[in-house]
Symmetry: D2
Subunit: 149 residues, 4 copies
């Protein structure tokens, strides 16, 4: 195994989590741009990476307790389209941490150009889909990375 | 070709466009529910069907002029999850028709239970991605089906 | 609830299971055709519908025993592309029923034109991913619908 | 822009092109494994990266001439499933270069464990979907990276 065999990981630059990706055929549609639902996939990859970066292992949590973060609200504005072959990045900041949810601001950028602007609320749910307080150590981690208002 | 060979079409019940579908494996994720981005696919199928039902042929328009409706804003709340095998329906109403965009309210229902609630703004864009006035006959069609406020 | 609120169901015409669908923006890519992986989604919808039509409830089985059909082999030829707005159908026949798997022939058609030709082997797996004999009543059902060689 | 802002690129180790990625929620299904069609997305990302690595710019070619590689055949065996959070890699080798197509062997690996094994034929098509000879310089590039039989 070489460096090539390590998947990309994003990371923090101050309070901003950066996650870069390229646009492939699967992401585009017949109008020639990234299909609107696929930005939500990019944003989820970025959030998963951010959550991993703060030390939370979602896959283990899901296997052990059946709990997971599920999105309960998305407000997104599409300003400019991404296209096949574009190199883009998702910049995420934690805006608010509540008892059983977290509010994340996510922008998709192509160089200095902002393509989308979104606010996403993810709630921590138990195996039956009921909201559950996140573990105190997780709340602490989210608070540490939250951007001061 | 028999009736079985005709794809499903939704239709209007008063100002409400109804579009029914079943949840397949492709729609779900490892948490056991429909993945959040996939509701946007369901909603786009319903909008495409509604647009076709009022007599607009998006595929021909795209081929002829390069123009298409592109989503510029989505505000969605996820209230309850859909699951594998569920029969659900998307109920869409036109809430506002502007010079080059249309605002659509879309709810995903499982019987009488509301699963999601969304407002979607779709702008009519030319082949270069610039907003373009929709053809007057289309504006008229959207106005006819718009729910009185 | 009206007829509009009932999702499409395919069905059998002799040994052939027919499943019709329309091509939406989500299915296409920037080259203007249905993205190659998405035919596998169409084929899975058709198989799920066929399995349901013979009286097998996959969602209940998954919930009860953790077992499911998983695809172990696909051989597919793409002959002609489907495009935005096309009405197509998947025609599926059971070609072979084994102790813990089933071989299905699936063609995607646009009217009388064949777009793809595929053979798919689906194995019945338990909750740990190990092959498991299908219930005898299911084997019988598959044998009944299998096309005589 | 920092290193974090550069999307992952795969690369060659001898004749083998390596492309690493992580499994996200979008890739999985309710059975808890990567959905079978999504491996084809992983494989296409790897092929696109390989094609870019040999100096072919698919997005420019598509914009300039309307030509693109389209998959005409896939034979894939699914041996073991990938799961949420897995780090996997796609290893691709060019097995044959013909006048207007290329045959690529692609394996998905999790460490030393092989998850899938596939052969994919991609044909170079013009803007009308007709096979077209690839540019001689491209043929040469593919021949250079082809694994000696």
């Amino acid at each position: 195994m070489t460096d090539l065999d390590q998947p990309y990981r994003g990371g923090f630059i101050g309070p901003e989590h950066h996650f870069a990706l390229s646009v492939y055929f699967e992401d585009t549609d017949a109008y020639g741009i990234v299909y609107y639902a696929n930005y939500l996939k990019f944003m989820e990859r970025a959030r998963s990476d951010m959550i991993r970066a703060v030390g939370i292992d979602q896959a283990s949590e899901l296997a052990a307790s059946g709990s997971a973060y599920a999105v309960v609200e998305v407000d997104i504005r599409y300003r400019r389209p991404a296209r096949l072959g574009d190199d883009i990045r998702v910049i995420s900041t934690v805006e608010d941490v509540r008892a059983s949810s977290v509010l994340i601001h996510q922008r998709v950028m192509r160089r200095e150009e902002q393509l989308t602007d979104a606010r996403v609320t993810a709630a921590f749910l138990d195996g039956q889909g009921k909201p559950r307080r996140h573990p105190p150590s997780w709340v602490e981690k989210f608070r540490e990375i939250a951007k001061p208002a």
